[in-house]
Amino acid sequence: MSAVLKWGAVMVVVAGCVGYLIYSASGGASEYYLTVSELRSHPVYDQDVRVAGVVQGDVLHPSTPAGFGPLTQFSEKDSTATIQVVYRGPLPDIFQPGLTVVAEGRLGADGVFRARQVLVKCPSRFSTTQYTS
């Protein structure tokens, strides 16, 4: 009986530790996942967020100073709001206007979103039209 109690206690301790790890890590490392209008109506400046929206037709690749990666400017929009995004680095292959992307980064005080990473929702196929029966 005492051995059963002992293992029960070990299990409680392990479960407690795992619970603490999950709690502390998800508190410190989680980011808000927002739409463009949510970020516009409740701006978050001091922490990383992910913002999802549709790439607009104003994609710009300003010439890049030597020694740095390529710079891209574009705007993301959902049904009501628009945001300017600046990103330095290689873009996903299928990045193009009209596609839903998720930009991960920080909103600057100037209202421009500086992305560390741009993720594209990867559809299982690329054409927007699909034959239906």
């Binding site: 740095f68 559809p123 299982s124």
Partner: protein
């Protein structure tokens, strides 16, 4: 046209057969009617054969470019190379479900053929549970996601395959990982059957372990192939992104890893019986849950399947499986009290129990990270977690598991005395020396100072075990007790993987640069010189190649453009692999002034991950080939004459 009718007909007939097999087997098992048990099992074989027919029909439709089938038109075109056309069988939602059912039918049949020795009731219930799962998939295939839907107008050409999938990896990774997913249903069926038949003895464990091992091996290979593909083809510089799609493949693997260890405690010491049932059931529930969240789009993922109508069906199926498993475990838990004394803390079984708790803890961490967007969305603003969450929450658990890998194999069963604890000095010394060496070399990261020395200690433990066997009786014991030594080989493989993962995680270097021809860049002690750009025209696409000189080699990262697919572009990364590091070059774009932009990464020891993966699979295969089966109990096969006809 005719193919569509043949295929739909085969699926419908398979559905009827599987439903019949499920009902008949449950009833026949209940009343122990030996003839009807046979009939039920054969009905399952018939359903599997019909699924094989349906699969053959779909494959025929694909290779003959029968664009009257919506599935064929949506996933292939005339220009797609033939091996990839054939691979489109599992490339889309409907086809992948059919492929899943095919694996379930074939592996399920194989497991049932070998199930007679478990006794008629258990075999009947196993057939019933397997047939019920197959029935669910066939209902979905017939009613919501049929690969045999016809188009009103037959188009002259199909829409083609996504260029990212136009790769050799498409021929290996998806079928292996889908087969892995499908195969977790088999251990689950036998676990549920053993609970239904109230027979929680060693025969059940031996049979289930074999198929759990098949599922585990397929899933290991599937995960590693997926990592390899992501690294070499998708070209973002890494191999693991903690995306929900990856997480749901990892969780059943972790749960089954726990089961493969804890089942030994039951085999050797007759303990942990309820726990073992729980693990097998958990692995299957995680598979169903994963399929639900991946294919319904309820959590944000960078690579979810096309969102479709099958989500609610899988949600309902998950609910049914969960309730069924909980009720079953609840009803039978009282009868699963283990014989013998519980484990001493410092013993082999004690190490297994602790390792199991840590692995299930890791499952909990990954599960929480995966469902957080869903849960937080219900109570307010949606939140997501990234890599740092998994580092902080799962990292400590993995470090502890490494420590157990180093100590566990050297501990004896029952209770460890002083003499056996003395054996721990070798891994301890190795870890201490490694840690000191790393400190001297200037490493200050605590996670790295824990992970790599402990990995070395785990490897030393396995080497000590091999050394002991060789010292005693040369190679004979290694061959006769190959299951044990195969497991040690798999441990060594895992250690190699861990070192590769740790090194590339802690010491990856990254640089974004824009270079003019002739300009040089230096990263991580490597020198690269940009030589210039070149346009090349290939069969179905054109490539803009940027040549990068690296030592006496020329790396050629490129951007391909597929004119046939609306100008879809695709990055081809260039990787130069050595044993110590990969130099990984991504061509990010060409500029109007003739310069080119690159992201260059130095990924230390990534090739160790692939090498270690091969060692793991080798260890599992060598350790289990030609394993003697438990002595069969003669039942059933000679029965028909005695039974009323």
């Amino acid at each position: 046209m005719i193919l569509a009718y043949l295929g739909s007909g085969a699926l419908l007939a398979a559905l009827i057969m599987a439903g019949f097999a499920a009902l008949l087997s449950f009833w026949a098992g209940w009343v122990e009617n030996l003839v009807m048990i046979q009939v039920g099992r054969r009905a399952f074989y018939a359903a599997a054969a019909l699924v094989v027919c349906a699969s053959a029909v779909l494959e025929a439709g694909l290779v003959t470019h029968d664009f009257s089938l919506a599935y064929v038109a949506n996933h292939t075109d005339l220009a797609t190379p033939m091996p990839l056309v054939a691979a489109a069988f599992y490339g889309g939602q409907e086809g992948s479900l059919l492929y899943w059912t095919l694996v379930l039918g074939l592996l399920g049949s194989a497991s049932l053929v070998a199930s007679a020795s478990l006794g008629p009731r258990l075999a009947a219930y196993a057939a019933a549970v397997l047939a019920s799962i197959a029935t669910f998939f066939l209902v979905v295939l017939v009613l919501v996601a049929s690969p045999f839907d016809l188009l009103f107008v037959t188009p002259p050409d199909g829409l083609g395959l996504n260029p990212v999938l136009r790769d050799g990896g498409m021929l290996i990774h998806p079928p292996v990982v889908l087969a892995g997913f499908a195969s977790f249903a088999i251990p689950f069926s036998f676990a549920a059957a053993a609970l239904l038949a109230n027979r929680a003895d060693a025969g059940w464990i031996a049979h289930t372990r074999r198929y759990a091992l098949v599922a585990w091996s397929l899933q290991s290979a599937g995960l590693l192939l997926g990592m390899w593909w992501a690294y070499h083809v998708l070209g973002w510089g890494g191999y693991w992104g903690w995306d929900p799609v990856e997480n749901v493949a990892l969780m059943p693997w972790l749960a089954t890893t726990a089961y493969l260890h804890s089942s030994q405690v039951q085999e050797r010491r007759g303990r942990l019986r309820a726990w073992n049932f729980g693990l097998v059931i958990l692995a299957f529930l995680l598979v169903v849950f994963g399929t639900f969240i991946v294919r319904s789009g309820v959590v944000p993922s960078v690579h979810t399947f096309a969102i479709s109508a099958i989500g609610p069906w899988f949600f309902a199926f998950l609910g049914v499986c969960l309730v069924f498993a909980l009720v079953l475990l609840g009803l039978r838990a009282g009868g699963l009290k283990s014989a013998g004394r519980p484990a001493a803390a410092v013993s082999r079984e004690g190490a297994f129990v602790l390792q199991n708790m840590l692995l299930i803890g890791a499952v909990a961490v990954v599960l929480w990270g995966t469902v957080l967007p869903l849960v937080s969305g219900l109570f307010g603003q949606e939140r997501v977690v990234g890599e740092s969450y998994y580092d902080r929450a799962a990292g400590p658990l993995f470090v502890l598991i490494l420590g157990l890998m180093a100590a566990g194999p050297l501990l004896p069963w029952r209770r460890a005395g002083r003499t056996s604890l003395r054996a721990l000095r070798w891994p301890l010394v190795a870890a201490a020396v490694m840690a000191a060496f790393m400190m001297v070399a200037g490493v200050r990261s605590l996670p790295a100072l824990l992970a790599i020395p402990l990995a070395l200690a785990a490897a030393v433990t396995c080497v000590v075990e091999f050394g002991r066997a060789i010292a005693k009786g040369r190679l004979a014991p290694i061959i006769s007790r190959r299951r044990r030594y195969g497991a040690y080989l798999a441990h060594i493989g895992l250690v190699v993987v861990v070192v590769g993962v740790a090194a590339s995680h802690f010491w990856q270097q990254e640089k974004d640069v824009t270079l003019t021809p002739g300009q040089q860049v230096s990263i991580g002690g490597y020198q690269l010189t940009y030589a210039g750009m070149e346009q090349r025209q290939l069969a179905d696409h054109s490539e803009l190649v940027a040549a990068m000189r690296f030592g006496d080699r020329t790396l050629e990262p490129a951007r391909a453009t597929y004119a046939g697919l609306g100008g879809q572009s695709l990055t081809h990364v260039a990787i130069s692999t050595t044993a110590t590091a990969d130099v990984y070059v991504i061509f990010a774009g060409a500029n109007s002034d003739g310069s080119a932009s690159f992201r260059i990464l130095v990924n230390p020891m990534v090739s160790w991950i692939w090498a270690g993966g091969i060692v793991i699979i080798l260890g599992v295969v060598l350790g289990n080939v030609g394993q003697r089966r438990a002595a069969p109990v003669p039942v059933l096969t000679a029965a028909p004459q005695a039974a009323p006809s």
